[in-house]
């Protein structure tokens, strides 16, 4: 396992202890258990058959929402490739002895084809855990595994949207003019793009009926809300007193406009990297060269805002390889090479779209409005962006269009909107330095060294 990986190796002894803890919890007192047999992956020949075993009914509901359900016939002959034991009610008392970070555990044994969960009630552990397994299995079969959403236009053109949590993957892929393939996890094989999941898991913080009508409408019977606050019988989506990570899971058919009967599409014409740059430095959109595609995919940049306390205005850069480092079980270059190879084979274009701050950093500037971002996405998807003249943005060497239909042209070059141009240059250099620093972890091979030139230059 790579040293800088978010996943940490454990010994067989620790695995055995964790497995025993989970089994002991599920096997005690003749308790009732919920078993959900389901699939990850819409393609029959590469899908993973998974058996989830748990003691909490709503977790079974979550799994039912999120994964692909077998037909009656498939259920009859179901043989699990992978088993997940969710013993969320127990914890690992020996965590210090095991040299782990806490008494919560989410452990995988790829040899034994089993995962065990303890101490965490977060539904996402099950979904993202299986995504990690898919990220291990598929690249070995020359299939790209991607942390992205995907949709398809009326002319059959597929687009994929990479991005870390909070950058707009789910929001921007739910487009009334395009059919949704999926909102989070996909594979790309010789036939095109396919969804791993049978449902969506959307953030609900500040959910607004007008801004995100598809997600809002999807919250109906059988949708499952997590960590939201109910006031006077109504959900208050602005209340983040439990956590900012409030969520809803729902089966994909809760979205009106989806690809049926199987969540798959052709080879993507457009690949979009979404980033929420809280420094206000990156342009709302830039077209990437082949090497820039590899560079920005490996760096996987977004930013987190420091908090809402008064006086704290400093954003924190966040880099996550392939826009999903936590789910990568192989070296990030394996994923970037597979993606770019497929993009070259199918003449796909790549764009970097900033859904974050403009006119200044967090605390000074403002977040770009959703309608403008939607217009930018529309211009990428209908190809009209390519009719514009492009200019080069210094330091980051990004190609930015001078005009996009329906978008204030002044927004397109981020430097224009900063009152203090020197401050912009200073902030851009500061962020560029962070990019360069982070990319050093990929320069352990010739390809990585070569790609340094595709990144920002100081």
């Amino acid at each position: 396992m790579r040293k800088s990986s978010d996943n940490k190796p454990i010994s067989h002894e620790v695995w055995n202890d964790l497995k025993s803890t989970a089994v002991k919890q599920l096997n005690a007192d003749k308790k009732n258990l919920y078993v959900i047999d389901c699939f990850a992956g819409a393609n029959e020949d590469t899908r993973l058959s998974i058996r989830f075993i748990m003691e909490v009914a709503w977790q079974a509901h979550f799994v039912k929402n999120m994964f692909i359900r077998p037909s009656e016939k498939e259920l009859k002959n179901f043989k699990a490739d992978f088993v997940v034991l969710n013993a969320s009610k127990t914890t690992n008392e020996k965590w210090k002895e095991h040299k782990l970070n806490s008494n919560v555990f989410v452990a995988f044994n790829l040899g034994e084809k089993m995962a065990v969960i303890g101490g965490s009630w977060y539904g996402g552990e099950m979904k993202k855990g299986i995504f990690s397994v898919m990220n291990y299995i598929l690249p070995l079969k020359n299939i790209a595994a991607m942390h992205c959403s995907a949709n398809i236009g009326k002319k059959g053109d597929t687009a994929i949207f990479f991005g870390l949590s909070g950058t707009g993957k789910t929001t921007l892929s739910a487009d009334p003019n395009r059919a949704l393939i999926g909102d989070d996890e996909h594979g790309w094989d010789d036939n095109g793009v396919f969804n791993f999941e049978g449902g969506c898991y959307a953030k609900t913080i500040d959910l607004d009926q007008e801004k995100e009508p598809d997600i809002y409408k999807a919250i109906k019977r059988d949708a499952l809300l997590e960590n939201v606050v109910v006031k006077d019988g109504k959900v208050d989506f602005a209340d983040v007193s439990k956590t900012k990570n409030t969520r809803v899971s729902y089966p994909i058919y809760h979205i009106d406009n989806i690809v049926k009967p199987i969540s798959k599409g052709g080879h993507p014409k457009n690949v979009i990297f979404l980033t929420a740059d809280a420094f206000g430095v990156l342009p709302p959109v830039s077209k990437l060269t082949k090497d820039q595609t590899k560079y920005h995919f490996l760096n996987g940049y977004t930013a987190k805002v420091a908090g809402t306390e008064r006086g704290i205005t400093e954003p924190i850069p966040s880099f996550s390889a392939c826009f999903g480092a936590a789910f990568l079980l192989l070296h990030p270059t394996v994923y970037s090479q597979e993606l770019v190879r497929k993009m070259e084979e199918h003449n796909s274009n790549a764009y970097l779209v900033n859904t974050g701050w403009i006119g200044g950093s967090y605390g000074i500037g403002k977040r770009i409005d959703l309608p403008s971002t939607r217009k930018i996405i529309d211009a990428i998807l209908d190809g009209s962006i390519n009719n514009a003249d492009f200019e080069k943005l210094d330091i980051f060497n990004l190609n930015i269009p001078k005009h996009i239909n329906g978008v204030n042209a002044n927004l397109l070059n981020p430097r224009n909107l900063w009152e203090d141009k020197e401050k912009y240059d200073e902030t851009a250099k500061k962020l560029a330095k962070k990019f360069i620093e982070n990319f050093k972890s990929f320069t352990d091979n010739e390809e990585g060294k070569r790609l340094v030139a595709a990144g920002p230059q100081l």
Binding site: V23, L26, N27, D29, N32, L33, I53, A57, H61
Partner: protein, 72 residues
């Protein structure tokens, strides 16, 4: 179901109650509601227990106040 039981036994799950395999949403929802009701009953029992303890504690104080001594 027989195969499922064999599979579960292989993992070490041999002391279990009912198994709900790919249960319907309605079934899962009923189980969630059942659990919430059970929790509410537990809270009610707890509160009754607390009230009982408070009552006992008050009763202990009565003789103390009247006779100036402790009740065993």
């Amino acid at each position: 179901m027989e195969n499922l039981l064999i599979d579960l036994k292989k993992i070490g799950l041999d002391n279990i109650g009912e198994i709900y395999r790919n249960a319907s949403y309605d079934k899962l929802m009923k189980e969630v509601i059942k659990l919430i009701l059970e929790q509410l009953l537990l809270i009610q029992e707890f509160l009754l227990d607390v009230r009982l303890r408070i009552n006992i504690s008050l009763m202990r104080k009565v003789p103390q106040k009247i006779f100036g001594g402790k009740m065993k």
